[in-house]
């Protein structure tokens, strides 16, 4: 077994119920810095709930979540974002009342300071900041290959590119941990290959990725470790090879009889 690196995220006995239904049942796992960790499981396994708990959208919960050694308990979603956790959404949450580049500019919120007074009077620092925001947004659009679509309304883009808008927006917050929720849903095979390359590049840039996905081909291709959830319980954890030959996982995906 390898020596454990530094854990960026530690989930401890995380438990969440919705009116008696266990959505996440005492789940414990670690995410090592610089890795791509896949979270897989059949529909309804609690993957998205797990994401919503980590990013502060579903308080309260039992157990604890530590990010860089600090508990996230009781923190509001926007302050969790300010710690360096960014995410995309399974059901796209692109701001459709803005252009593509404005979507990404909005995500430079944490890197800028100007308030109502500064912006109303167009103070020099506010104008300087605005210029930096635009530059940074364009750089992040470059990263996902959307520079040409910068000034288009997001709804005019194909679904796959709208997903890239979300990834660019998440990257613009300069996260250290990126949570990607079902990026391959609705994508064609060649788009999934591009996406896999993009996620590897993101990790190459030093950003740890936690990836929820039920399309196996994406996860198995790029993940360093895989966590398998079923009915809210962690049923397996390990390398992609270990997971592929794990009987519990095969049963969960294909049914007990197989």
């Amino acid at each position: 077994m390898e020596l454990p690196g530094k854990n960026i995220l530690e989930v401890r006995a995380l438990h969440k119920t919705f009116g008696g239904v266990v959505a996440i049942g005492h789940v414990t796992f670690d995410v090592e810095e610089g890795q791509i960790v896949g979270v897989i499981g059949p529909n309804g396994a609690g993957k998205t709930t797990l994401f919503n708990l980590i990013t502060g959208f579903l308080p309260p919960y039992q157990g604890d979540i530590f990010f860089k050694g600090k508990s996230l308990r009781g923190k509001m979603a926007h302050s969790i974002a300010s710690l360096g956790i960014a995410r995309t959404f399974q059901n796209l949450q692109v701001f459709t009342n803005m252009s593509v580049v404005e979507n990404v500019m909005t995500a430079r919120h944490l890197q800028s300071r100007a308030g109502i007074f500064g912006t109303a009077f167009r103070m020099p620092y506010s104008r300087r900041e605005e210029k930096h925001i635009l530059e940074a947004a364009m750089a992040n659009l470059d990263r996902v290959g959307l520079r040409d679509e910068a000034f288009a309304p997001p709804l005019s883009l194909p679904y796959g590119k709208q997903k890239l808008v979300e990834i660019a927006r998440a990257l613009a917050t300069e996260p250290t941990l990126l949570l990607i929720d079902e990026p391959a849903g609705g994508l064609a095979t060649h788009e999934i290959e591009q996406l896999a390359r993009l996620i590897s590049e993101i990790r190459g840039g030093g950003i740890t990725c936690l990836l929820v996905e039920h399309r196996m081909e994406l996860v198995m291709g790029i993940a360093d470790r895989v966590i398998v959830l079923n009915f809210g319980m962690k049923i397996a954890e390990g390398s992609t090879e270990e997971i592929q030959s794990n009987e519990k996982v095969i049963a969960a995906y294909l049914g007990e009889k197989f």
């Binding site: 926007h78 974002a81 803005m98 404005e102 909005t106 308030g115 912006t119 109303a120 009077f121 998440a170």
Partner: protein, 324 residues
């Protein structure tokens, strides 16, 4: 160009009547711009704008008649009180959403209106406050409606420009990002570090600040106030204005203010002459009719008229193609 039109209007239209109408358009326009920021950009409804308008008017009236405070200082004091009220009450109020928020702000409007009526030893009750001194600017005493016309429209331009700057900035994007009925998403906003609660309260405070300034200008210009123009009906009228003009734009607020004031005057003065026996309430029917027509045929407001016209033309030409 529009600026020139506003500046030259009094020279062309000699009648003082038009100047009075222009003043009302400007005053309501300031309130409407604030409401456009709140509702049009951040998606938070308020039926309390007339109350903030009243806070400005009453603060100015009370402070300048009872304590002989400098009117400009009183104007600032009113705006601070209005923004402070919005800031304190906005924290719990803006946790509410949609219809519930509308009803809660309406309740606030009623409470403040009741204060204007019942706190009689300060506000004069239904009799109101008279003899409010005029404003002076660099030693120049503003006397005529025309003087106020230029002051009010200078304020409109200032408020418009400041709001325009806010909208096209980091703050403006944050506001649009939380407007869930026009394509924003509070969840996504939070995921990039924006606190929806903070921006909702801030923009509520700005809208109250603007409304209060408009109220102070109104009080000094008319020199007399009573509770009537600060009731819930006026709050609703403000909402109608920005709906008619077009919510997603600051121009819409000004267009809406102009349409409502002009059509109000038209129906109050002209219709009774044509239809003897038609009472002053005609204007309310007119507001309702205009609102319904706009919602049916131009839901994005009058500012979207050029687009709507283009679409309509395209449809016509398509039809004629088909006939050929």
């Amino acid at each position: 160009m529009l600026l020139c039109a506003v500046a030259l209007m009094p020279l062309v239209a000699k009648s003082p009547y038009y100047i009075t109408v222009g003043n009302f358009i400007g005053i309501y326009g300031i309130v409407a711009i604030g409401l456009a920021l709140l509702l049009g950009y951040a998606g938070q409804v308020s039926m309390a704008q007339a109350a903030f308008f009243g806070i400005g008017a009453y603060t100015s009236a009370i402070l300048t008649t009872l304590t002989e405070m400098n009117p400009w200082l009183a104007l600032v004091a009113g705006a601070m009180i209005a923004a402070g009220t919005a800031g304190i009450l906005g924290v719990p109020l803006l946790k509410l959403e949609g219809h519930v928020l509308a009803v809660a702000t309406m309740a606030l409007s009623i409470v403040i209106y009741t204060l204007f009526v019942e706190w009689a030893h300060l506000t004069g009750g239904y009799d109101g406050i008279g003899g409010i001194p005029g404003l002076s600017l660099f030693g120049f005493q503003l006397k005529s409606d025309l003087h106020y016309y230029y002051l009010i429209w200078a304020c409109v331009v200032a408020v418009f420009v400041l709001s325009h700057n806010i909208v096209h900035s980091r703050v403006g994007r944050a506001l649009r990002s939380i407007h869930r009925f026009s394509g924003g998403s509070e969840m996504a906003a939070q995921s990039v570090g924006i606190s929806p609660a903070k921006y909702k309260v801030q923009v509520f405070m700005i809208s109250a600040f603007y409304a209060s300034i408009a109220g102070s200008l109104y009080a000094h210009w008319i020199a007399f106030i009573n509770p009537e123009p600060f009731g819930v009906f006026i709050s609703i009228l403000m909402l109608i204005m920005i709906t008619i003009g077009g919510m997603g734009s600051l121009w819409g607020a000004m267009v809406g203010s102009a349409v409502i004031v002009l059509s109000g005057e038209f129906f109050r003065d002209i219709v009774p002459k044509v239809l003897p026996g038609a009472a002053g309430e005609m204007e309310h029917i007119a507001y309702g009719m205009i609102l319904v027509l706009i919602l049916l045929f131009m839901p994005a407001g009058l500012v979207s008229a050029p687009d709507a016209l283009k679409r309509w033309r395209a449809r016509i030409s398509q039809k004629s193609d088909w006939r050929e």
